[in-house]
Each structure stands twice: as structure tokens, then as C-alpha cells.
């Protein structure tokens, strides 16, 4: 009995009302859940992405509080340090333990022939490359976790190794077997497997494709005698637990490590990778904002309906003595129940959705299985957003409910004609103008531009929505003849219904705007991006063959390669990691760890096989090349040019082995490699300033009269075995990159799908309400002889007109949104993307608008058709 416990009465009321309108309750709940899910999943994805990066790097650091490292922040790509640094560090009394690591990339000999260059957007190699760690087998276990399932650690200086048990099983290796590895120069080395590791600690490095051997053995096999690339330092707890003391110690240690070594915190390594993902994450954030916006609409929509529908009931309650606060409470209690339930379900959805998103992000990271980090903060934050938004959106309808007069209950039919006050659409027009001006007219500083753009998007969306009432009549009038042709006389009736509740129509159109804008915007971006990307691939990935090896290629090999029959030209490239000096950094980003790739090329040979794409206004390409070849000069990627605010002719300072040195910017180029975190320079400078040589990749151009396959085969035959070469055609490499791009763009398709769901929910919601509200009327039409089919057509026609209006607005807004998104990406990342207009996304959007509106209308239409006539006309 409802009245036994008075304080529960509002809840009981609300629950009854919700149960009575089960369909709508579920729909709204679903809307809330979806919104919360989007917010949560994006939050999780962003946090998890960073976590994954950090995990990868932290794992490698073990319990080290500090690392002594080269300037090389990514594994296996660079210079080394002298081994004596270990003792020098251990001499500090604050250093409890100092233990060296030498990490090399190699392959199982049995897999050498199948190996393919894998490349992620981060530029990091992943996959089948085996990382071999040379460590101090006595001391390392104090720093890193070794958990054996069988066997033991290698003995010092013995040709022995330990492997993750899973990896060993996969490769059919047992204790006592030989691990056969490729080593530089020629041939292979054999290490006896003496221990197998459980999936913990060390066994997780490089996704478990790892082996650990004594340091001396790895130094020997890989020609790195006396060299290491890292020293892990464990600091006494008193200092380790005090950030300031640790920082002071770090500075003191740094004074003793010499020029080319640095003391860093383990976490610093994830930074480069994190930065590369920044623009991607910003994009996700924008969607999060849109999801919230749309969610608000849907909820507002539903509660408005509920209040309209219950006008009589509420009037009656007021008549028998309920005051306005009671009425407000009644609506808000219902909103609270929905908010909590919907948000809770949304959390579950969100975690699931995050998994899907992380699959895509995982591909970006080239880090294999990504870790999903669900923090209590993220959960609470999403829950909070869901509840606050729901309550906020319900507040206005609740207020409107309080304004219902008791007299409403006495009227036979509440036939309130809606009048839209001019203030509404005038505000809309102003917002629209302001938003458009922000985007197209007012030049903002780059640092605030991104936020302004995002704000403007919402401003335009809200503004556009508010102007809908102004044009509903005209648009519907224009649409009606078409609708009549398609659906007949009952279609015209249905179309006219759009004008009846302008508020509701507006909300539906708004949902369609968002849906279509997402589809069109995302589609346009994909196309623009692909367009740019493809032209970059074609310009910069020249040549016919790529010759790569898991171990660094020697310079001398280049000469040998050039003598192979059919090779017209060959040019090397080396990806070296460098630091940009603080004086070149803009003041607001002056952290001292700005790490980028120095891509060394040989200008002369490079131009024989490939080319670069200069951005606009870079003058004569020939002069730029000459400037580069002259030395102390670099080409800057457009992204870095933007980040550092540098132009052609300016100077960028890099930290070199000889201190900070100036390089002239000879040109700004388009470069997507490593998300454009690249500076292209010459081999001469690489040698002079970084004491580096060798090649990570050699690009070969095939002479006329020879086929690519033929030359590829010849190179493989002559050097393949001996040098562990991989020879890949440019075409297949391009296809690989293209595949990676498609994979990332697939994420956008997922987001488009969310758009479709949002639009559909809007249409379903509105039409269901309309049908419910017009039961009597539909009953009347049936009694006049309308068939069930005609009722279906009438509702479909109404949806069609709604869809048409949504399409008109949505496509226009999508056009703006696409440009804004591209500008945002440009301002965030420094890409120089051009907006490429393509009719395809617009046509797809139009087709989807028609599809969404018709499919979403099907259920409400059937509901209308299935009405029991007698019940409907009795219904008061």
C-alpha cells in the first residue's frame, strides 16, 4: 500500500509512473547509460593509454628510483655508455645498488626469413623482435622480478639464458635446449636455456618476447665490449621517499655521468610516446563533450514528454492540495532513480566500450596487449557526470510541471499551442553568429585556439538548435509535397504533424544534427587525412625496396648494396633520438625533456630514390636541399615547426655530444613518421654531433630493365642469410602503413556508430511520445477508415520530414564541424591538414538520415497501427 510509509510515497509514485511507461523509461535509461559509457570509456582509454606506456617503461626500470641512460630514450635504437659508470654510481653512498643493462634487438635464427619490419605510429618496433637483455645476473634480481617456473639464473659469463616459460613453450624450447640467435656480422650464437620464467616482472618485457643473459656474453656477441646502455639505481629509502632529496641527488649524480649520459626518472621515457598520442586523445575528449551534450538533450526531451503527458494528472494532484514543491519533487525523484540506475549501467557499458577502444589504441602504441586501467576516480567522475546531467536536464521540465495550474485537470483536453518566443531564436542566431565568427573570422592565439574551437562547436550546435523553431514551418512546408508523393495523403498528414510540437521537433532535429555532424565530420576528416597521408606516402616513401635488419646496418654495407646488379641507387636512413635544447622551446612548454627523432639521410643519394614534400611557402626546393646538404641545417616537420614556432631560416638548438648546437631550419616538410616528431638532417651532422653512423633502413631504387622482385631476390640471395636482412617492396610497406591508418580510422567509424545510435534514439523517443500522445487521434483516424498500413505510413512520413530537417541542419553543421576538427587537430599537433571536400560523407549522411528516421520510426509506427481503436477513442 502506497500510503503506509509516507516518506517513501514519492518513490513509490515515481516507480509506478516509470513502470507504466516502461518503454520510455528503458529508452531514457539507455540514453543515460550510453552517455555515461562514452564519457567513461574515453576517460579509461586515455588513462589506460598513458598507463600502458608507463607500464612498458616502468617494467623495464624495475625498482630503480633513477636511471642512468643515454640520450636514447627508446630501446634498441642508439648509442651506449661505458660500463665503468656502474662503479662510479655505486660509489655514492646514497646509491644502494647500481646494476647495468645492455639491451639488443635480435631474432630467433629460425624466424629470420619471415621477419617483417613492423612499424607503429610511435615509430617503435614491436612484434616478433626478440629483446635480449644483458644484465649483471647476480645483482639484477634485486632490482627486477625474476620468478622461475623451472631452472635457475644463468651463471656469470656462461653462454646461458633464461626465457619466459610461455615464449619458450611457443617456440618449443625446453630447459637444456639451445636458444639460437642472430648476431651481427655473420652467423648465429647459441645460448643454453637454463631457466624459465612465470609471466611476471622481467618475463613481461617486450610483450614476453625477451631473453636474459649475462652482460659479458651479450657484450661479446653483439660487439659491445665494455658498453652498456643503462644503469638502474636503487636509492636508500630515506632519500627515495623524499622527492626533493631525490631530485637533488639526481642533479649531483648527473654531474658525474659525463656528457652523453643523463640521469632520469624512470617515468620520463613514456613522454615522447605520450606526446605523440596527445592529439588523438584530444579528439576523443571532444567526442566525450558531444556525448554529454546529446545526453542532456535526450533526457530533457524525455522529461518534457512525461510532464506534457501527465499534465492532467498533475493538475489533479494540485487540485487536491499538492503544492509546487511536491510536484517538483515528484519529477525529480523520478529523475534521480533514472540517473542512478542509468549511470550505473553506463559504467558497465563504459568498461566494455573502453576495451574496444583500447584495441585500436593498442595498434597505435604497437605495444601489444594494452592494460585497461579502471580507476575509482574515472568511475566516480562518470557516475557524477551522469547523475548531474540527468538531474540538470530534468530540472526545467520539473519546473514547468510546477507551473501547471489545477485548472488543467478540468479541461477535456490539454491543447496547449506552443509559441516560441522570439528571444529563443534570436539567442540562437546570436550564438550561431558568435560561434562561426570564432572559427572563421577572429584570429586567436594558437595556445587558446583549440579550446576556443571546441567551445565554438558547442555554441554553434546550441545556436543552430535554437533556430530550428524559426524554420520548422517553412521547412515542413517545403518537404510536404515530396512526402505526399512518397507516402500519399496520409503522408502529408504525418508531415504536418511535425509542426505540432515545435519543441519536440527541435529536440529531435538537434539529435539528428549531432548524429549527422558526427558522421559527416568524421567522414570528411578521414578523407582529408587519408588524402594528405597518401600524398605523403607517395612523396616521401620513394624507392622500390626497403632493406632493413633487426640489427643496425653498417655504413660499409651500403657500398656493397650499390654494386648489386639492378640497383640503380641506394640511400640510408638512421633514426636517432635527440633532445631539443630548452632555448628553442616556447616558454610555456619549457620542460627540459623534449625528445624527438633526428632522421639522418644522405641528401644526394636520398634524392635519387625519394623526395620530401615541403609545406607551402618554402621557396625553391633546390635551394632548401642545398642548404641542408651544406650541414648544420635540418628540415623540420610541420608539427615541430608549429610546436616550436619556428619557420624556414630560423634556428633550432639541439643537445649534441658537443653541447648545445644551432641548426638552421632549411625547410618545413610534411612528415607523418612518428607523428611528425622528427627533424631531418644529414649523416654528416649525425656523425659530427652525435657520433653515430649505420642505417636502420636502406631504400633502394631499381634500375630500368630490372623487375623489383628480381632485384629483391638477388639482394636476399647475396646478403640475406649473412646479414639477417629483410627486403620489402615499397608497395607492401605502403600497404602496411595504409593498413595501420585504416585501423585507426576504424575507431572513427565506431564513433560514427555512436552518432547513429544517438540520432535513432532521438527519433524513436519523439515518435513514441507522439504516438502515445495521439492515441485518441489515431483511434479516430482508424474509425474514419484508415488502415493499419496507412497509420504506419503516416508515422513514417512524419519521421521522414524530421529526418529531412535534421539532414539539412546536420549536413551544414557537419561541414563546419569537419573544418573545426581539422583546424583543432592542426593547432594541437601541428599537422598541416587541408580540408578536402568530398561529397561522399554528405551523401552517406543523407542516406543515413533517411535510414535512421525510417528505421527508428518503425517501432512507434507499428505501435500506432496496433492500437485498439475502441480503447484509443475511449482514452481520455
Amino acid at each position: 500500500m502506497l500510503f503506509n510509509r509516507p516518506f517513501l510515497a514519492p518513490f513509490a509514485f515515481a516507480l509506478r509512473n516509470m513502470r507504466q511507461r516502461m518503454g520510455r523509461t528503458l529508452l531514457t535509461g539507455l540514453g543515460i547509460a550510453l552517455g555515461v559509457a562514452v564519457v567513461l570509456s574515453i576517460e579509461i582509454t586515455n588513462v589506460s593509454t598513458l598507463d600502458t606506456i608507463n607500464t612498458v617503461f616502468n617494467l623495464a626500470a624495475g625498482e630503480a628510483n633513477l636511471l642512468v641512460s643515454t640520450d636514447n630514450l627508446l630501446a634498441g635504437m642508439g648509442e651506449t655508455l661505458p660500463e665503468e659508470l656502474v662503479d662510479r654510481m655505486a660509489a655514492f653512498e646514497e646509491v644502494e645498488l647500481a646494476t647495468p643493462t645492455l639491451r639488443v634487438n635480435t631474432l630467433l635464427a629460425s624466424e629470420a626469413s619471415e621477419w617483417e619490419l613492423e612499424i607503429g605510429f610511435t615509430g617503435a618496433a614491436a612484434g616478433t623482435i626478440l629483446q635480449l637483455y644483458g644484465v649483471d645476473v647476480v645483482r639484477d634480481p634485486e632490482l627486477r622480478v625474476y620468478k622461475f617456473t623451472a631452472g635457475r639464473l644463468p651463471s656469470p659469463d656462461a653462454y646461458e639464458a633464461v626465457l619466459p616459460a610461455d615464449y619458450a613453450a611457443e617456440k618449443d624450447l625446453a630447459l637444456g635446449d639451445d636458444l639460437v640467435l642472430l648476431v651481427p656480422g655473420s652467423g648465429v650464437a647459441r645460448l643454453e636455456v637454463v631457466g624459465l620464467l612465470a609471466s611476471e616482472g622481467v618475463a613481461l618485457f617486450n610483450n614476453g618476447v625477451v631473453a636474459v643473459a649475462p652482460l659479458s656474453v651479450v657484450q661479446e656477441l653483439f660487439n659491445h665490449r665494455g658498453e652498456i646502455d643503462e644503469v638502474g639505481l636503487k636509492i636508500v629509502p630515506a632519500i627515495a621517499s623524499d622527492p626533493d632529496a631525490l631530485d637533488a641527488l639526481k642533479d649531483r649524480l648527473e654531474e658525474r655521468v659525463g656528457r652523453n649520459a643523463r640521469v632520469i626518472y624512470p617515468a620520463a621515457r613514456g613522454q615522447l610516446v605520450s606526446r605523440m598520442l596527445a592529439s588523438f586523445q584530444a579528439g576523443l575528449q571532444l567526442f566525450s563533450g558531444i556525448a554529454i551534450f546529446v545526453g542532456t538533450f535526450l533526457i530533457y526531451n524525455t522529461f518534457s514528454m512525461t510532464v506534457v503527458e501527465r499534465t492532467r494528472e498533475i493538475g489533479m494532484m494540485r487540485a487536491i492540495g499538492m503544492n509546487r514543491w511536491h510536484v517538483l519533487g515528484l519529477v525529480m525523484v523520478e529523475a534521480s532513480i533514472l540517473a542512478v540506475a542509468g549511470s550505473a549501467v553506463g559504467l558497465v557499458f563504459g568498461v566494455v566500450q573502453a576495451r574496444a577502444l583500447m584495441l585500436v589504441t593498442g595498434a597505435f602504441l604497437a605495444a601489444g596487449d594494452a592494460v585497461i586501467t579502471v580507476t575509482p576516480q574515472a568511475l566516480l567522475q562518470s557516475l557524477f557526470v551522469g547523475i548531474v546531467i540527468t538531474l540538470g536536464a530534468a530540472l526545467f521540465p520539473a519546473y514547468q510541471a510546477t507551473r501547471i495550474s489545477p485548472l488543467e485537470a478540468l479541461r477535456a483536453r490539454a491543447q496547449t499551442g506552443e509559441k516560441v518566443r522570439p528571444a529563443v531564436w534570436v539567442t540562437g542566431l546570436v550564438m550561431l553568429a558568435l560561434g562561426l565568427a570564432n572559427i572563421y573570422v577572429i584570429p586567436y592565439r594558437a595556445s587558446v585556439y583549440f579550446n576556443i574551437l571546441q567551445g565554438s562547436v558547442l555554441l554553434i550546435l546550441a545556436g543552430a538548435t535554437l533556430t530550428v523553431p524559426l524554420v520548422v514551418k517553412a521547412l515542413e512546408g517545403a518537404a510536404r509535397p515530396w512526402v505526399r508523393r512518397l507516402y500519399g495523403g496520409e503522408g502529408a498528414l504525418g508531415s504536418a504533424n511535425v509542426q505540432r510540437s515545435v519543441g519536440r521537433t527541435t529536440l529531435t532535429v538537434a539529435a539528428m544534427i549531432v548524429a549527422l555532424a558526427m558522421i559527416v565530420g568524421i567522414g570528411s576528416i578521414s578523407i582529408s587525412f587519408e588524402d594528405d597521408f597518401t600524398s605523403w606516402i607517395n612523396a616521401s616513401l620513394g624507392g622500390d625496396l626497403y632493406v632493413t635488419s633487426p640489427v643496425k646496418l653498417r655504413q660499409s654495407f651500403l657500398g656493397q648494396l650499390a654494386t648489386v646488379e639492378g640497383v640503380e641507387a641506394a640511400t640510408p636512413a638512421r633514426f636517432h633520438i635527440v633532445q631539443v635544447a630548452a632555448r628553442s622551446l616556447p616558454p610555456e612548454t619549457a620542460d627540459d625533456d623534449d625528445t624527438v627523432y633526428f632522421v639522418a639521410i644522405e641528401p644526394e643519394t636520398y634524392r635519387q630514390v625519394s623526395s620530401v614534400e615541403f609545406t607551402s611557402n618554402q621557396g625553391d626546393p633546390e635551394a632548401n636541399w642545398q642548404a641542408l646538404a651544406g650541414g648544420d641545417a635540418v628540415f623540420l616537420s610541420s608539427q615541430l615547426a608549429e610546436t616550436y614556432n619556428l619557420n624556414q631560416g630560423d634556428t633550432i638548438w639541439l643537445k649534441t655530444r658537443r653541447g648545445e648546437k644551432p641548426f638552421r631550419v632549411a625547410g618545413v616538410i610534411v612528415d607523418f613518421f612518428a607523428q611528425g616528431q622528427t627533424i631531418t638532417g644529414t649523416y654528416r651532422d649525425l656523425g659530427a654531433y652525435f657520433s653515430e653512423d649505420g642505417a636502420d633502413r636502406i631504400t633502394v631504387k631499381v634500375a630500368e630493365g630490372y623487375t623489383i622482385d628480381e632485384v629483391s631476390q638477388r639482394i636476399k640471395d647475396r646478403y640475406g642469410e649473412q646479414r639477417n636482412l629483410n627486403v620489402q617492396t615499397t608497395t607492401s610497406f605502403k600497404a602496411q602503413i595504409q593498413g595501420l591508418l585504416d585501423q585507426s580510422l576504424a575507431l572513427f567509424d565506431v564513433l560514427s556508430l555512436i552518432g547513429v545510435v544517438i540520432g535513432s534514439l532521438g527519433v524513436v523517443n519523439t515518435l513514441t511520445m507522439n504516438v502515445i500522445e495521439r492515441r485518441r487521434e489515431i483511434g479516430g483516424l482508424r474509425s474514419l477508415g484508415m488502415t493499419r498500413n496507412q497509420i504506419v505510413r503516416m508515422v513514417l512520413a512524419e519521421a521522414f520530414s524530421l529526418g529531412l530537417m535534421g539532414a539539412l541542419y546536420g549536413l551544414g553543421f557537419g561541414f563546419v564541424l569537419a573544418q573545426v576538427m581539422i583546424q583543432s587537430m592542426n593547432s594541437m599537433s601541428g599537422y598541416d591538414l587541408e580540408f578536402v571536400f568530398s561529397p561522399t560523407p554528405f551523401l552517406v549522411g543523407l542516406a543515413l538520415a533517411a535510414g535512421i528516421s525510417q528505421l527508428a520510426a518503425l517501432a512507434p509506427a507499428r505501435r500506432g497501427a496496433a492500437l485498439n481503436i475502441v480503447e484509443a477513442i475511449k482514452h481520455e
Partner: protein, 252 residues
Amino acid sequence: MTEPSTDVLLRAERVTKTYQMGSVEVDALRAVDFEVRRGEFVAIMGPSGSGKSTLLHLLGGLDQPSEGEITLAGQPLSQLTDDEITTVRRRKVGFIFQFYNLLPTLSAQENIALPLVIDGENVGLHTARLNTLIDLVGLTDRGDHRPDQLSGGQQQRVAIARAFINQPEIVLADEPTGNLDSRTGTAILELLQRTCREMQATILMVTHDARAASYADRVVFLKDGQVVHHLGENGKGNSVEAIMDVMAGLEL
């Protein structure tokens, strides 16, 4: 007054309607036998809840009887599909309701033409009939008004014109004056009567108002779902007093 012809337009044979209310069965109609001949103006009377509306709904094919058969213009409804019944309703039946049931978005004229639209007719070809009807119901200068700009009586006039636009064989009216003051009600009843004659239509009207029933040629009395009395079998009108007498007896 035209002589009613003898052929039967509408016939109910042993019609029973049972509603299931949870575990209880409510018999709204019990084995009702009933006929309307072409050209007649028949009233159904009875106290509230006696089954008048239910019977009217069944006769118009808005609902199906639990037992028994209804034959409209020679067609047994039980043998028709829902769509066929709908077509019968569209072409041969006109409905008038207590609460008018007009479409709020359409003008009076459009509301009247609605059955033509539903039937897929080109309204333009029927302007003559449309205008005749509008004149007949006295809305000549109100054709462009929307329902919320019309009084209750005017709205009911629109509903009447709408019921006749397709030249139906029979018009079914459920308490057409129930929501109107007595003067307006009288006007509506006179209009119905006049229209019935001029268009040679057949009218079946449900009412619990004796004065309204007195406009009919014949009155059938229902109580507890059964036909309990007839008045005016000879086709002559009945006085209000005679009808009130019968009603008083029924409501005891």
C-alpha cells in the same frame, strides 16, 4: 418524412461481448438481436454502462463480438479481414463521437475532407460535395478555422459533415450531444435529422438523453447488455414523455 424501405442495412444476430477484467468476466452485451433498415433514424437508449457504446463499436467494425454475427450492407463482418473491415468503414460508415475527435492541425474544411484523403481521393474533384456539406452544417464562413477556433457545437458540425462526406450507407453517432448545452444540442439533432432526410442516409445514434432520442424514428432500449424494449416500431416518432417513462422503468 420518407417511408423507410424494408431492406435491412445492418443486422446484429445473437451478439455477445465479454470483457475479461482480470479473473472476472464482464458481459457488456448478451445475445443482442437488432436490425437497422435503410433510411431509418434509430436511437439506442439505456442507462450508463448498459452496453450502448459497445454495441455501436461492434456495429461499426471497430471491435469484434465474442459471439454472434454482424452483417453490414450484406457483408458478414466476421468473414472479413481487418483491412477489409477498415475499407467497409471508410466507404460505408460515418462516425460521430461525443468529443468530436477532430485533428487539431487541420482546418474545418480539411477535417471534413479527411475521409477522402484517407481513401486516396483527389479532394479537388469533390469540392462541390464538400461545399454542399459545409453549407448544410452552417459553416460556410468558418471553413478555414482550426478546431481550437471553433465552439463545441461548431466542432460537432464539422464532425457531422465529415461523417457524411463519403456518402456512407450509415452514420453511427455516440452521444453526439453529450458534450453540448441543450440549445446547441437541439440544433445538432435537427441538423442530423435534416441531413438524414436530404442525403437519404441511415442514422444510428446512441444517447441517454430522452429528448435526443425523440428525434429518432425508432428507439431501442438496452439494459445490462440486453435489448429490453422498443418504441415506435411503426416508424413514427416518439414523444419525450413516452421515452422518459420507459427509461424511468429501466433505471429502477
